[in-house]
Symmetry: C2
Subunit: 161 residues, 2 copies
């Protein structure tokens, strides 16, 4: 087992600086993130939800998308993600799909909640059955539901991810 | 309390057709989604992870981003989201931030797992403390961590979301 990585404090502090600047510039919420490899910044991201009308444009998602674009890959193997705040469930999911080696964060989701960003609500909702969530997620069985997966299994040129 | 919405089966079947076409066209994984209001499709999305090098380009995320772009808003209040498969944790988070009224899905995450898409792993990881996840998420306290939130609180022209 490899030894645990140590955070680069300069990079972590830099995400806080970016988050402050993002608020002052009116671009979006008080969050910033960056992807680095071997101490070198590959891409930065700030929260752009309101300025780009994109509810998925959280700092981590933006940084991951830009890092992948810069590297020409859909995986961030070996990379480190620094973020000014603990990831929300959406960003946590994005991190698992992008698969960096480690995430370092400064503020906790408790600090975020105190500022009005209630990720904890979403974490609690995830634990409920779909049809009991405040946004109900309803399973509608259909005989064709497996059709796309069958097509996938038989696709020879498919690119797994 | 309003009565539960009923799914438009034609729209749900259409997402399965889009998912099959996406695989056949080599654009990405076997998933598709759409956002509709009053039975009218606002935007469609398919999985574009491998063809765009974007690990966040899941069908639901793509559909939400396009619907918000089309409507010029970062909220999908009152809208319905149809998806060929039960949302993964990232997409579930995106749905909570976009806030449509309801989600209808065809295949379950069990069917997705059988085809090699193990969302269940991420759901299990979410339940663990950050530092015990296979991608460790490490809290690094710093005296400046609350700075961006303070700036946010004092920002008069801020746009809440």
């Amino acid at each position: 087992m490899s030894s645990p990585r140590r955070p680069n404090l300069e990079l972590l502090e830099y995400t806080i600086t970016l988050a402050v600047e993002n608020v002052r510039g009116g671009k979006g919420g008080p969050f910033a993130a960056l992807v680095a490899t071997d101490g070198k910044v590959i891409a930065e991201g700030v929260n752009l939800v309101t300025s780009t009308n994109d509810p998925t444009a959280h700092a981590e998602v933006v940084a991951i998308r830009r890092a992948c674009e810069a590297l020409g890959t859909f995986q961030l193997t070996g990379a480190e993600l620094y973020t000014s705040c603990e990831p929300c469930p959406m960003c946590l999911g994005a991190i698992f799909w992008a698969r960096p080696a480690v995430v370092f964060y400064a503020a906790t989701c408790i600090e975020a909640a105190a500022a009005g960003f209630d990720d904890a609500l979403i974490y609690r909702q995830i634990a409920l059955p779909g049809d009991q969530r405040i946004i109900p997620m309803i399973h509608v069985p259909t005989p064709r539901s497996g059709h796309s997966f069958e097509t996938w299994r038989h696709q020879r040129q498919r690119v797994d991810y």
